[in-house]
Amino acid sequence: MPAVQETVERVRQIDVDQYKYGFVTDIETEKAPQGLSEEIVRFISARKEEPEWMLEWRLDAYRRWLTMREPTWAKVDYPKINYDELYYYAAPKNFVAPKSLDDVDPELLRTYEKLGIPLREQEMLAGVEGAGSRVAVDAVFDSVSVATTFKKELAAAGVIFMPISEAIREYPELVRKYLGSVVPVTDNFFATLNSAVFSDGSFVYVPKGVRCPMELSTYFRINERNTGQFERTLIIADEGSYVSYLEGCTAPQRDENQLHAAVVELIALDNAEIKYSTVQNWYPGDVEGKGGIYNFVTKRGDCRGRKAKISWTQVETGSAITWKYPSCILRGDESQGEFYSIAISNGRQQVDSGTKMIHLGKNTTSKIISKGIAAGKSENTYRGLVSAHRKATNARNFTNCDSLLIGDQCGAHTVPYIEAKTSTAIFEHEATTSKIAEDQLFYCQQRGLSEEEAIALIVNGFVKEVLQHLPMEFAVEAQKLISISLEGSVG
């Protein structure tokens, strides 16, 4: 966890006390009552000092949401969510927050230890009530250190990187132009809910011809806290620009909110490229799957310009339920979409994830490499759509989805949809399902590897092709995370 360690070290270097006041007390007062209503939407908008148009946008979403139904087509099973019982803005901290680490699932703590996370950082990640470090960590980014340095460098390049709540105030014309232009307000139940109540998230704008001088990470974003539940991210790469964005963190994170419904929109104009990498490791729940996060995410990129390129890379190891299909609309001629995914499920986790590659422009190409690994009693589904519009002459897609089963109580499923409305499209689809053979394990063990080392080695071999697409530092962490995620998956 280099990023986390760095954070903690920086926290130690400064006098934490000066950040003790103000910040937390503000949060205490910033809470809305239970349930969702127009009043709540107005409350959220007012709290964020949003302009009128933003409030109207949210209210419109809210009214439409009221008429919508929760989708049921995914292969996931969970108790009905009562939306009137949820908190939609800064839930009170003692809602379900553990009082101390003693109240936290010991399995989770064991994982923290394996990742070498310091105690105070553990408290923060576990969402322990009043964990001092959580304030300080935010404070660091609010103040002097990393963020400022980065901000200067980014500003020099003309890159805008800030919380979306700030961007709404400071760059309303940009936000207004692009927000909801890739994922429309009424796209789906969860996206509509997000549009009504989104808390915060990142906004990135990379101007024409600029190659963003560094990888942008949520870790270095100001006011990270309390954005998790209904996160909203908007990234715009103007003509000929490039940006690489990293989301998430390898340490398992707990959150007092069980339901997460994020929306991420990417827009790449002519010759622009966006690379979006995610490591998702939300709390998966205890042994019986209780208390895990429900993660219903809508991520979509629009290659709006000619020769635009959008590449999604994801490593999904956490959450009780994952419902997530990072997709590409290949609108510009000769635009390219890529999706590289590793989805690991263990215990009672349920994953329904994949992508959509929608070919609209001529000579558009897309590539899908998906590696699903199911262990324990988990269910792991790849669901993907590749479609070519009538005008998408010479659209090309290559899809490879492989599933690996560990043990005999888990399930792997592949549900590919392919639609070609032009006879010039060439779509290739390869899929395999395999099991880690007892013989393979025995072979490795005979050479001296323990069973867990053997599984980690075999799985890392299985996902290698995808790991290569992650930024170096992330890839090393992800590799470690994969090993840890699969502990106890056999025997």
Partner: protein, 249 residues
């Protein structure tokens, strides 16, 4: 010393080994020959610790230590090596990566420090050269797309690198042409040492022309039924196993 006493073992309630005795001292090369189904491969799996093989009676000790108290990886770290008849493929894992992981796992288990990458590379290079294994081959995924000969040479490379005390070679000659057989046999002969014991399991005498054993055993129906010198192998080659198939019935 590898000492096996009155070993009985079953797979899914079928008794395959029925009271097998065998003692291999450091420096000795033993060969076990026998007809198909006599339990030769079962013996190698039971000793190496494969699951689904249940020991019902008897014992096996490696330098006095009870093998059956140890997991397969612990037995490996104690110096027991099995060269597989059918080496397994592991896609996406470079041979080099696998070799390093295995060697360091054993070193850790023995409380020795892990080898640094340059040290490790040096060792692998030296040993691979002798077996005609190229750097390109070491970069390929373990055994994936390897020819029969390449797989067996790779087994011997692992043996050379891990420097075990006792080596079991299970039908190492199967699937090899004469040239490949010679390379493999030379590799094994180079590892013969006064502190290392071998158990060479084979159906045919051919391999034993190249790896000349000190002692030859005939196995039938889960037991050793006859023991002799290298000349016994030639006798078997001439007469076949017919006598033994009937004899132990």
């Amino acid at each position: 010393m590898l000492e096996i006493k009155n070993l009985h073992a079953s797979v899914e309630d079928n008794e395959i080994l029925k009271g097998l005795d065998l003692v291999i001292k450091p420096g000795e090369v033993h060969a076990i020959m026998g007809p198909n189904g006599s339990g030769k491969s079962t013996l190698s799996y039971v000793l190496a610790g494969k699951e689904d093989y249940e020991v019902t009676e008897g014992s096996a000790t490696l330098d006095g230590e009870d093998l059956f108290e140890l997991e397969a990886d612990e037995r490996a770290a104690k110096g027991l090596f099995l060269a597989f008849q059918y080496p397994l493929e592991i896609p996406g894992v470079a041979t080099m990566t696998f070799l390093k992981a295995a060697l360091n796992a054993q070193r850790r288990a023995r409380g020795e420090g892990e080898l640094s990458t340059p040290e490790f590379m040096k060792q692998v290079r030296e040993k691979a050269d002798g077996l005609g294994i190229s750097t390109e081959m070491l970069k390929r995924a373990l055994n994936v797309g390897f020819s029969g000969g390449e797989k067996k040479r790779n087994e011997i490379l692992q043996m050379a690198l891990l420097e075990p005390k006792y080596c079991i070679l299970d039908e190492t000659d199967s699937g090899l042409d004469i040239d490949a057989l010679k390379i493999v046999a030379e590799g094994v002969n180079a590892l013969r040492a006064k502190d290392r014991g071998f158990l060479v399991i084979t159906h045919y005498q051919r391999l034993l022309d190249h790896i000349v054993p000190d002692i030859v055993h005939v196995m039938s129906k889960g037991r050793i039924v006859r023991t002799g010198g290298p000349e016994l192998a030639h006798e078997l080659e001439a007469k076949g196993y017919a006598d033994y198939v009937g004899a132990a019935a």
